[in-house]
Subunit: 220 residues, 2 copies
């Protein structure tokens, strides 16, 4: 299902500058052409320009794109779709490939106006069709989105006390086992390798959170 396309197409990178809001404020006080010299700025940067109603930029209605992006996210969530699903479905139906990152960047307006302008109608059309299928039943939507008709969330694993004891012993010796070590541990305990890997990950997180609390002495 989640097979990543490994096409490494080399293209000229847009060189997007991602300034912090605080930086923006400082810069905008200089007024006029705040970002970059004559180069590419993201839609998000352009629409947040304070003075003068942000209308068109090279004939592109930025405000409209901003509005659509916000709307798109809500409609996507209403359908219960993830960015990954949208990207994969688009890759399957439309010509070019669309990564999860691309969808994310569009929603956050972290792209150039030109790119946004090109992507907008594609998303618009696809989403409208998806909503149509959804009306006919969720099953149809999932079929349209492609792949797994109703991929259920993996059942949460329950470790036996014995297994946890063994895992903790390993963890104490080494909290960050190598892939091979994980494989061996999984084999020994007869659990899925991925499950074992995730256990280690979460164990670390827990540890970190616990430490954090202790620092503030909220403990007990």
């Amino acid at each position: 299902p989640s097979t990543q396309a490994a096409s490494a197409v080399v293209s000229q990178s847009p060189v997007v500058i991602a300034p912090q809001p605080s930086v923006m404020k400082t810069v905008t006080s200089l007024s006029s052409v705040p970002i970059a010299c004559g180069d590419t700025a993201t839609v998000g940067q352009l629409v947040s320009k304070p003075q003068q109603a942000v209308g068109d930029e090279e004939g592109i209605n930025l405000e409209e794109i901003r509005e659509f992006a916000k709307n798109f996210k809500i409609r996507r969530l209403s359908l219960g779709l993830t960015q990954t699903q949208v990207g994969q479905a688009l890759t399957a139906t439309e010509g070019p490939a669309y990564s999860q990152s691309a969808i994310c960047r569009f929603e956050k307006l972290d792209i150039t106006p030109k790119s946004a302008q090109k992507l907008k109608p594609v998303l618009e059309r696809w989403l409208a069709e998806a909503e149509l299928w959804n009306q006919k039943g969720q099953q149809n939507l999932m079929e349209f989105v492609g792949g797994e008709p109703s991929k259920k969330r993996k059942r949460r694993t329950s470790f036996t006390p014995q297994a946890i004891e063994v895992l903790n012993t390993y963890f104490e010796k080494n909290a960050l086992p190598t892939g091979q070590e994980i494989t061996e541990i999984a084999k020994e305990l007869n659990y899925d390798r991925e499950v074992v890997r995730v256990w280690f990950c979460n164990r670390r997180q827990t540890l970190k959170n616990t430490s954090k609390i202790n620092v503030f002495q909220v403990q007990q």
Copy 2:
């Protein structure tokens, strides 16, 4: 910011049975009183009963609750709020404590009709008020929700090649370091402890995913 309220109010636990859909199908073929004997079933279970329009259960309109739950999630997301934020805000304004899990369970209808009936008006009222504040500006909403006005996402950490090498060495020795070990590693590398902890977590995930792919020989 994320200090968990440690109030341990002991109440009669609902004892919710959570059967899988596949199990449901088998059981429903027996028709009438499909779930449990005379005990508590979740709203989700009750509304998915196939025959007979699912009307009231002990005077509670289940269909209405289902509708509201779905709507609640969409409205929450439209406001850009997380389950955690809602829970914390409710804990602050309403009497009892509401955890992220509680909100999650309500949205998934993984609660008893009685609990849902009790929670629904609370959520309804709070959400309506939140939307009101949101109309006056996002800043007001964040203030209403409480705490951080605009908590920004942590900046993505970039590890130096040297640091990664050291981390990998530790990981190979032990993929699941203890809290103390993490602290020491973080100190040695001069990175934030939390950052190191998360590194290990994600490293495990990567490993797991890689292993998975190898199994299917999709590699290269």
